[in-house]
Every structure is written in C-alpha cells, then in structure tokens.
Amino acid sequence: MAEGSSATTRKGAEGLFERVESLVEVAMLLPHGMSDEEVEGLLRVLPPDTSRSMRALLCPRFRDVSLDFIKMLGGWVQELRRAKEEGRKVVLIPFNFPPEVVYIFRNAIPLTSEVMTTLGVSVLEGQGERYWDHAMGLGIPDYLCSSSTIELGSILTGRDFQPDIIVQSAPGACDANSKIHEFVSLHMGIPQVILEKPTEATSRGRELHRRYFLALIRRLEEMIGEELDEERMRGVLEEANRASDLYYELYDLRKFSPCPVPNIFSIFTYGTRFTRWGRPQATEMMRRMVELSRRRREEGAYPADEEVARCMWLYIGYYFDFLGFFNWMEERGITYLNDILSLCQPLHVDTTSRESMLAGLAEACFEYPMTRQIGGDSMSLSWIEEMCQFIRDLDANCAIYSGHHACKQTWSIINQVRREITKRTGTPVLCLQGDSWIRRMTPTSVLQEEISSFVDNVVARRKRTRARA
C-alpha cells in the first residue's frame, strides 16, 4: 500500500480509521486565522487528494469554521482511540442511530460508520477505494452501499481500529446497510444489537418501537457493563437540546435569499449531528455555524452575483469530490439548501425523569432522518410530504435527487416522488445517478454538466419568466 505512506501518515497505518487518525494529528495543529499564503503552503506539502479537500475546506469564506469542524471530528477520532485504550466500549453505529444514545453511557463512545467513510473519502490519498476493493474481494456484491462498505471494508481487513459492539438499526429501512453490518458482526465476531423500527408511524407502531428500544438499552447496559445513570443522561440530553435550538436557528437562516449559510454547512451539520450530539463539542460547532451565517446575512454576503437556484437535495449529496462540489455550486449561484441528512430536525427531549428521557430517545430514533421517511409504511408518502414542506418553507426553486445506486428503496419510488413534488410545489426535480462516495462511478464533470444543464435550462429560464410576469 505504497500510496498511503506519505509524510503525513503514521507509519504502518493501513486502515481507514488509523490513516485518518494520523492525518488528524497534523490537522489539530492548524491555527485559526490562517492567511492565504499559509494555506497555499500547507496545500503544497499535502498529498494531492488530501490537498484537494483541504482546499475546499479552507476556502476563505468559512475557513475558521471549517477548522472548527476538522478539530471537532479530530477530537472525536482521538477520543475514540483513547476510549479504546482505557477499555471503554466503542459502539459502531449506522447512519440512522442517534449518537447521544451511546453518550448517555459513561463507558461507551459511538463510531458512526458513514461519517467515518465520508471523512476518509474526503481526506485520504486514494480515498476509500482500497477498502471497497477489499470488501469486493470477500465477495460483497458491487451494488452495495459504498458509505457503509468503505469503513466496514476497512474493519474487515482486520488491520484497523476495531469496534466492540455493533448497533444495527436499519433492518426494514435499508437492507443494504443492515445486511453488511450483520456480515461484519459475523465475520469479525463483534456482537451486534438490533433495533428494529416498525414501519407504522401510529401509536401502535411507536409503542412497539419503544419496547424494542428499551430492550436495546437493556442489552447495551449488559454489554457495556454499566447501569444507566440518570444524571449523566440528563446532562447529555440537555446538551443535545441546546444543540437542537441552534440547529433550528441555522435552519431559519437558510430561508433568506441569497442564502447566508454556505453550502458546505449541510455536511457540517450532518457530521456534527451524527457524531457528537449530546456533547459540548457539537453545541459549540452549531454555534460557530450560526454565528458565521448570521454575520454573512448582515453583510448580505453571497459568493455569486446572483442566487440562481435554491436547491433542495431530496436525498444525500456527493462526497467523493473532496467536498469541492459544494463550493462549485455555490460559486455558480446554486444554493445547496439542505439534504435529507442535514434535515435531521432534532427533537427536544423532556429531561424531567428517566422515563421521559428514554421515551425521548426512542422518539429520536424513530424520527431520525431516512428512517422516518423511507422506513415508513409507504416509502414515498412522508418523504414527499416533508420535502414539499421544506421546499415551501425554505423557498426552494428546484430539487435534485442524487441517485446513489445502492439505495434501491429510493430508486424504486423516485418516479412518484418526483412527480408528486413537481405537482404539489411546481418545483422541477433533476434525477442524477452516481455514487456518493466512490469517484469511479460517475465523474464529477458529468454531474456538473447535468446540474448546469438543469439550472440553465429549467431553473434559470423559469426564474426569468417569473420575473417577467
């Protein structure tokens, strides 16, 4: 694995986690207020792939907030390592499980596989392809989800940081995701705990889910070897509530046109919500994003002459382009309002009692993004309704579906989703096709061409007509 052994990578580190870890050590040292010259100097010494994402992140418009984000994730990675050394349990969680459920335990820490993948794909030389290839070598089908397969592929090599417990919460919401988590559990002998989310969003379904959830907590207590402590739980959830308030403040800021919130903040939001919620670091991160956005709003700052498209991403974004994709859009007047992940809409948890807190956490699981929409009795119904609501609320004038080829659930109903959204809100919907985490599938240039073509032909033209009328 010669590619990985750049100057900045810790010797012998081969796994995704470990390589990220060694980069983080360097990144944690970067100071706030770096000048353009300093940034250029840094970019020159980094390996080319890493340098590309750092270029996107260290864009002067939000440089310091990016640094905060890097440091927040860096701190998470380092804490994971420390926890492991201290004998605390590392709990691998998928995209649809709130990390605060793990933080309520003193002796456990969540490792979110999707975020780890995104992080690795964004900063590592050669991205995550070798881990994907390793999984393929075991015979994992190539139409599986790259977001889970890359981080899990690295775990499967047996030469990376290993979690102690796997939480599985996608059965019934995403087959691809839940099946590969189960495979890792079997293959690596890591115990798994399952949380099923019933499809029914009625009181009956919620009640069943609450019972499943309580069983999960009991299992976690056993596995972690710790009884839940009410005070700790309250502390975590109050912190989470604070972050949630800031989340909604940021959400509201997106309503202004031109949008004062940089496109890349959608991924920061998702990265924060899915790893650190319930910890002060997350709250601080949200605060930094709100502050900068507020300032930009006061200054009327926007990177393009005109905000041509206010775009709602119906599903997820593309992360394989070293994050450059977000800035590319922004500089062309295409605002990335939100996607299904950044629209996490966290709930306020009632912290009066142990029961109310557990109920609140169960609710948080039930209402987690993707689970609550695609995991419903109808995969399309609440997805359509919510997106229509967000489109109106945030005054979007177009929508994009990113068509990650592994998400068969969304592909299977996208036609009616597209049709209904257009019918109900008059918003055109572009359907793209590509893998969010692997560059081999659809190159950025193709995606950019499609988006430009969509914006020029459909959105801009329509805007002109509207202006005329």
């Binding site: 015979g139 599986l144 495979f183 019933p198």
Partner: protein
Amino acid sequence: MEDPAELAGDILNTHLEEWRRGGGRIVGYTCVATPREIMDAAGILPYRIRALGKPERELADAHLSRFNCGFCRACLQLGLEGTYDFLDGLVENNGCDHLRGMFEDWVYAKRPGFFHYLRVPHIVSEVSLEFFAEELELFREALGRHFQVEITDASLKEAMERNNRTRESLRELFSLREGERPALTGRQALAVILLESSLPPAAFEEYLARFLEKSRGNEVKGYRARLLLAGSATDELELVGEIENVGGLVVCDALCYGTRAFWNLPRLAGDPIHALAEAYLKHLLCPRMFDDYHTRLDYILRAAERAKAEGAVLVYNKFCDLHGVENVRLRMDLEEAGIPVLVLEKEYGSGADLGRIRTRIQAFLERIGG
C-alpha cells in the same frame, strides 16, 4: 398426467379460470411470511405472485430502476400490463426494499380492489411475536370486512389442518428427491411448489396425491452431480432446467420458492392465530431476518447432508442486497463444512444470460468432479 412444469408454466391456468367462473376470489401475495391459511379459511385462493422468468420490463421500468431486483421488475410489469388483473386483491409485506418499492408502484399506478399491508418484524422476540400475532388478527379482520366473510377460529383450524396435510405430502415428495435414487428433478419440484400457490386447494391436493403416487418408484438417471440450490426469489423453471440440462441434479433446496415455503408446520393446538404467528415468524428462513443466521446455515447444512449434496449453488438476482450479502458468508461456511460452492449472480429471467450460466455451472461440475 400433466407434468407439473407444464401446468405451472402459465400465470393463469385453467383451474384458476374455473375457480373464478364459480365466483371464487383470488388474492395475491409474494412473501412466504404470509399465512395462506387465513385466506384459505375465508374461502379465498391465496396466489403467490410470480414472474416465471419473463423478461419484459418496459412498463415497470418507468417506475422501478435498473438497480432494482429483476424479479420485482418483472412482477410489476405483469401487474401493470394487466396479466394479474384476475386478482381480487394484493397483500404486501415489508419483505425487502425492492418488494416494498414494487408494491408501492403497483398500488400507485393501479388501485387494487383489496389491499392490505401485513407487517412482518425482522427479529424474533416475545415482543415481536406478540406484534405479529396482532398483525395477523388485523389481516383476518381486513379480509373479513372486505370480502364479507367471517373467519372463525374453527374455519381457521380447518384450513390449517388442510394446509398441514398438503405440506406433509410435499415433505414426502421432497424427501423422494433426497434419497439414493432421486424420484424427481429439481425443475419438477419447483413446479410443484409453484402449483401449490396457484391452484385451488382441493385441486392441488388431488394433483399432489397423484403426482406423489406416480413419483414413488420413479428414478431420475443420467446426472453428473447432486446439487443443493439455495438463494433468492427463483421461480424460473428455465434456470433450474438449465442447471439440470448440464448434469447438475438439484436434489434439495433452500429456496424461497422451494422448501422454505412449507418446511414448518403450525401446531394445531391452542390459539390458531398465535400458532400461525409462531410458525411463520420463527421459521422464516430468509435473510431478511436478523440475528438468526445460524438457523439458516443449519437448515442448509442439514438439507445438504440429508440429500448427500456434492455441491451447493447459491444463486441470487443481481441487486438483491439480502441474498447477495448472505451468500458471501454462506459460501465461506459451506466450503468450510466441505461442500463446494458456486455463487451464481444472475440477471433475473434474462435469456441472454443462460449461455453464461451454463458455462459457469458446467465448470462447477467439472470442478467438483461430477
């Protein structure tokens, strides 16, 4: 008598037409987690939706995508083009993501007369069993309400007895494949299963009795190796035929359109709904279930052992997440148990793929020395 494969080769057969002419109702379902007994008890014919390897997709593909399981695409096509218009209703399960999509598209484009969503948990626990029993109760009510019939415990028990009887016979028939002198081919066995869920119960019972009679003492000759076939939705008679044409006799299976559909019999004592819930959920031998991989592995190992299979073919439709991943692990474990494995990823129902399938099967037989 008519060969089962002939009879099963059509979506709509003469028996069904007759049933309909006599005022009989038919309700379609896809997943084996649907207790047929409840429909049977209501006098409704439970029909398991199939596509029989039909390659057309163009109407379905306006809804589903190229990334969806070909079986689902083919079923939806048949639904949209009207081939399934003879059904009086549909029962959907949350079997897998692709099936969920298929039903959603189907219902979006064409409102069926009766539609019910039967929710099946993904884990077995006390809580989930209780929930599933409730679901079956709701199913019973919904059927009764729509079709204006009362499904009493007594009629349910009667249906269960009848079904158990047929399944006992099916077991017997299938055990005839497993012995030293296999009495029927895998293609025939698959056809019989397809008939079970596409004939009126009485007609099937009669047919099965005759076929069983005829098969005893029969012997299939001239094969190169005894194979176990396991995997995803495989109702393609042609595929099994092709495997057997090159010399791999399928002597046992762990297919969804195979033994998985009838291996477990509900107990007849006690509350019928609970008995059904238990039989259908606890023994749902499908990778859509979580936390019980070893049950499935054991089931396959035991089948292979009973039938002295010399090799296992693990087949799956391209884009099937559940079986695609499950097969990776199964392959490792079966090989470790000394059973050579061929993992056969295939496009559902594509004639163009047959030549390539043949080559792979033939090479596999050569590999295991058959």
